[in-house]
């Protein structure tokens, strides 16, 4: 782009045309920023003409709709914020803007990032570009679908228990959750503050590295962001895995996912070995407690984080006889069932008399999970695991909340430990209830702050395999 093969404006115009073409089938976006994107592209082209250079010049960017961008509606996929115009811009979004990326739309998501299929969005349906009968994953489902359908080159998502990695796996993308604290959360509408982390969803590891390099670093506006030097990753990607020890978790038995899926993960391990990696078995004895731990801590934090949506200052207001009734009616009308469920669970877990039994014990379990990882990393450099419990499933097939929660079984422990983890495309299976092959994701996890070797290894694996090269065909069939 800086080389002037195409202007930012040309690239943005082409992307907006693509969006117009496929969006009726995919539904990745809650709002498309047509005018703003063209204005930003023109302004960028002028600066490039004046000699400025940008690492992500003109890159069409999808922004998950829980990240604020000044002057644009930011909904969190909720009726509560359906018309709320953000008065400021998130630090991570600002970093992408400064690097030259151009937001083309706000991506759909499970309401307040609570869900694994995007079906909990109150404002729209997003379909998986590889099979329109299937979900794109969640909660960053719109982000994943937008990049998979070539409606954006990079999407920003947020990951609390797997919300970047699972949709990336479902949509054959790279989805990267850096170490907790690497990227400022300022301007990310909180679900569970101690777990939320922003990251990119991209078609290649290199794009993910470029986006990470643009966003990582200390932000004085977020006191949980880490004041620690960030080494650029994009220039440190590797072609082989010689000398890298990759741990396979004994407790993560892929046999139970079915023979087809098991084969894909076996093949992936062979491919890693072929690249020079040494495969070792490691143990995460407490990994099984991850889900229960997560479903106490995350709802506890969300019950408090979401208290501000009360109809008083912004968002949906349903009047009542007094303030308390107005609060109740606004919240009853503004929140969907999954959000209400988690607020109730969290309120209960923090209540006096239950706090020690639930919240305090969950925090202790969280410490144990982190300790398990630290121990495992004494004998390996990276850990390989599935990125989700299945490939993308059909709409409305997970009606029981617990079966939905299970989708994040393999991603939640890493979130509890705050570790950097990513999903990279690793193969295809055709589900029993469908005809189209669906992608699977290999999850690689690194020790805290080891983003560099993590991205380097993922790049080597991506280069040695062809899974990522397969583009969705169904939308093209329908669109043309």
């Amino acid at each position: 782009m800086n080389g002037r093969e195409r202007s930012a404006r040309e690239l943005i115009d082409a992307t907006l045309a693509r969006i117009e073409n496929v969006e009726p089938q995919v539904g990745a976006y809650l709002s498309v920023l047509e005018r703003e994107a063209r204005e930003r592209a023109d302004a960028l082209d002028k600066r490039i003409a004046a000699g400025e250079r940008f690492p992500l010049a003109g890159v069409p960017l999808a922004v998950k709709d829980n990240l604020v961008l000044e002057g644009t509606v930011t909904t969190c996929g909720s009726r509560m914020l359906e018309r709320w115009v953000a008065p400021y811009t998130a630090s991570a979004v600002q970093s992408m803007l400064s690097a030259g990326a151009i937001p083309v739309g706000k991506a759909n998501m499970d309401e307040f990032a609570m869900g694994s299929s995007c079906e909990n969005s109150a404002l729209g349906v997003t379909r998986n570009p590889y099979d329109l009968e299937r979900v794109p994953g969640g909660s960053s489902g719109g982000s994943a679908a937008s990049v998979a359908a070539h409606e954006a080159t990079i999407a920003l998502g947020s990951d609390t228990g797997g919300s970047i990695r699972e949709p990336a796996a479902f949509c054959n993308l790279v989805g990267f959750k850096p170490t907790y604290g690497r990227i400022s959360r300022y301007g990310l509408i909180a679900f569970a503050s101690s777990l939320d982390q922003i990251g990119p969803l991209t078609r290649t590891v290199e794009d993910a590295a470029l986006a990470y390099d643009a966003m990582a670093g200390f932000d004085p506006m977020d006191s949980t962001s880490v004041d620690r030097a960030v080494e650029p990753t994009a220039g440190a990607l590797r072609e082989d895995l010689r000398g890298v020890r990759i741990g396979v978790v004994k407790q993560f038995d892929t046999h139970k996912l079915g023979a087809d899926i098991d084969d894909v993960y076996d093949r992936a391990l062979h491919d890693l070995e072929a690249l020079g990696a040494e495969i070792v078995e490691v143990e995460l004895p407490t990994a099984d407690y991850g889900l229960a731990t997560y479903y106490l801590i995350a709802p506890a934090e969300c019950s408090s984080n979401l208290a501000r949506f009360d109809g008083v200052r912004y968002g949906l207001r349903v009047d009542g006889a007094d303030v308390a009734e107005m609060n109740e009616r606004s919240r009853a009308a503004g929140f969907g069932p999954e959000v209400k469920r988690r607020i109730l669970i969290g309120t209960y877990a923090l209540s006096s008399g239950y706090y020690d039994a639930y919240y305090v014990r969950a925090q202790k379990a969280r410490t144990l999970v982190a300790r398990d990882f630290a121990k495992a990393f004494e004998s390996c450099d990276l850990i390989a695991a599935p990125a989700a419990s299945s490939p993308a499933f059909r709409f409305k097939s997970k009606s029981d909340p617990y079966s939905m929660y299970l989708m994040d079984y393999y991603t939640i422990p890493m979130s509890l430990a705050g570790l950097p983890a990513l999903s990279v495309p690793c193969g295809w299976v055709t589900p029993e209830d469908g005809k189209r092959p669906m992608p699977l994701g290999l999850q690689l996890t690194a020790p805290l702050f080891a983003e560099r070797p993590l991205l380097a290894a993922a790049h080597a694996y991506e280069r040695a395999t062809t899974h990522a090269a397969k583009h969705p065909t169904q939308i093209a069939e329908v669109a043309r």
């Binding site: 300022y186 301007g187 909180a190 569970a192 006191s223 949980t224 208290a307 501000r308 949506f309 919240y359």
Partner: protein, 484 residues
């Protein structure tokens, strides 16, 4: 029956940091509503708090002032409850790991008796906004048609200070509060103005038969807007509770409001809401480590404390309670005095000069004493010159005026102009003999029995010596020369 009151105080003090507790908005009283606000203090979605380091330093200062423990680790917690003037519907506060623990407020009563009241803790939190209810005529929420919220105050750093139930009378409660106020002012952490709401306090009051160890049922009094109303409210509540117990009635634990106009406490709402605040550590804020080095650095910069001054002034300097209090409650003057006295070593004389002539000069010219052209050290020097009889008090007054005019140190003026008082017999004799020679007629009159000319002759000697001669020596020599 004879009862003893048991009183504990809980107060909230706004810290006078330049910016708010968790954002960069100005911390200022009296601005147009909703002009000192940002996404953070409005609790906008996605906004995050960042702690104000100055507020934490102020807390350390307060802890040190009251000899509290300052734990190495502290954290912020969320106190969850819905209230329309609280933007996030939780307050960032401190639950089980406050910045300071324990401590004691040592205070004095009007007669100078020293008392102590232990502190439970002082913790740091954020203030809420302020609601105004419209349409009801009297500003109350009942009957109002709508409410307006001003968020200027939301997020202002607030120190919550909780005392142990060590106070036994309204007088002690007020003595405690006055001491808290003057100490917090002296260490520069708050304006502590009840009328602007930067000090707000509640009192927990119970009574028990004298000699009894067990506590009675307590009531909590709110809405006291001055120290005077604190005194009246507590006295009224003690009387009410005493009358009830005497009549065989039971005291109900409740929250009372002080009705200033009618001079009574009134039940605010008997329906006691059992609040469950669901405290938990704020995941947006990392735990704080307060190192010993940091505490030592704050300690090194601590100004003199009112209690220290009180003890020094009354015990070492022999000031009475009124004098000591007057000086302590004007910290700039006390600072000046303290520096002067280290030079003069004469507390009483120095106090006379500082509160007398110097304060008069300062008042006349409208100059705050800390900008006085006379330095505290020069004033101390002046007092010492009088005390060593180098100059007399008349010259001292003149000198002070010249020092105020910028003529420098008193010693240098005295030396330059030879103003030192002389009791040297030869010099005094020279002045005396000159005057006697020049006033032969008066000498005759004196010897003839008109002894009242003696004063005239003394004056003449003083005049001819330009005030330098030691009046005592002049007196003695004159009598001698005049023959008795």
């Amino acid at each position: 029956m004879k009862y003893e009151a048991v009183i504990g105080i809980e107060c909230h003090v706004e810290l006078k940091t330049a910016s708010k507790m968790f954002c960069g908005c100005a911390n200022r009283f009296g601005a147009e509503p909703n002009t000192l606000i940002c996404p953070v203090c409005l609790g906008m979605p996605g906004a995050l708090p960042v702690p104000n380091a100055a507020a934490i330093e102020y807390m350390i200062r307060a802890g040190l002032a009251f000899q509290a423990a300052i734990p190495e680790y502290s954290k912020f917690d969320r106190k969850n409850y819905f209230y329309p003037d609280m933007p996030k519907n939780y307050q960032i506060s401190q639950y089980d790991m406050p910045l300071t623990q324990g401590g004691v407020v040592r205070y004095w009563l009007e007669d100078g008796t020293l008392r102590e009241c232990r502190l439970t803790r002082i913790h740091l939190e954020e203030d809420t906004g302020k609601s105004t209810h419209a349409g009801s005529g009297d500003g109350r929420i009942a009957g109002s048609s709508y409410s307006l919220v001003d968020f200027n105050r939301a997020g202002v750093p607030l120190m919550e200070c909780v005392s142990e139930p060590d106070l036994r009378s309204a007088e002690e409660a007020v003595g405690f509060l006055e001491m808290l106020r003057r100490t917090l002012m002296a260490i520069g952490v708050s304006d502590v103005k009840m009328e602007e709401g930067s000090l707000r306090c509640d009192a927990n009051v119970s009574i028990r038969p004298v000699g009894s160890e067990a506590y009675g049922t307590k009531t909590e009094i709110k809405n006291m807007n001055s120290f005077r109303s604190v005194r009246r409210a507590i006295e009224s509540e003690i009387a009410r509770q005493s009358a009830m117990l005497d009549a065989g009635e039971r005291i109900v634990q409740e929250t009372l409001g002080w009705d200033e106009a009618n001079g009574t406490t009134i039940s605010m709402r008997s329906k006691e809401l059992a609040h469950d605040y669901r405290y938990f550590p704020d995941p947006d804020l990392v735990p704080m480590e307060i190192t010993q080095e940091r505490v030592a650095a704050v300690r090194a910069k601590m100004p003199p404390l009112p209690i220290e001054r009180f003890e020094r002034y009354t015990r070492e300097y022999g000031f009475n309670v009124k004098q000591a209090t007057q000086l302590i409650d004007a910290p700039e003057i006390a600072d000046f005095f303290d520096r002067s006295v280290t030079v003069s070593k004469q507390p009483q004389q120095t106090q006379n000069f500082v509160l007398g002539d110097l304060s008069r000069l300062a008042n006349e010219s409208g100059t705050p004493i800390q900008q006085s052209p006379v330095t505290p050290e020069h004033l101390g020097e002046l007092v010492a010159l009088v005390e060593s009889k180098t100059i007399n008090s008349k010259i001292a007054k003149e000198l002070l005026a010249r020092m105020w005019a910028g003529e420098g140190s008193p010693k240098s003026i005295v030396e330059r102009e030879g103003l030192a008082q002389t009791s040297d017999p030869a010099a005094v004799a020279r002045f005396v003999d000159e005057v006697l020679a020049a006033n032969a007629a008066s000498v005759e009159e004196y010897r003839a029995g008109k002894t009242n000319v003696f004063g005239f002759l003394v004056g003449a000697v003083m005049k001819s010596s330009r005030g330098k001669a030691d009046p005592a020596a002049v007196n003695a020599l004159l009598r001698e020369r005049l023959g008795g």
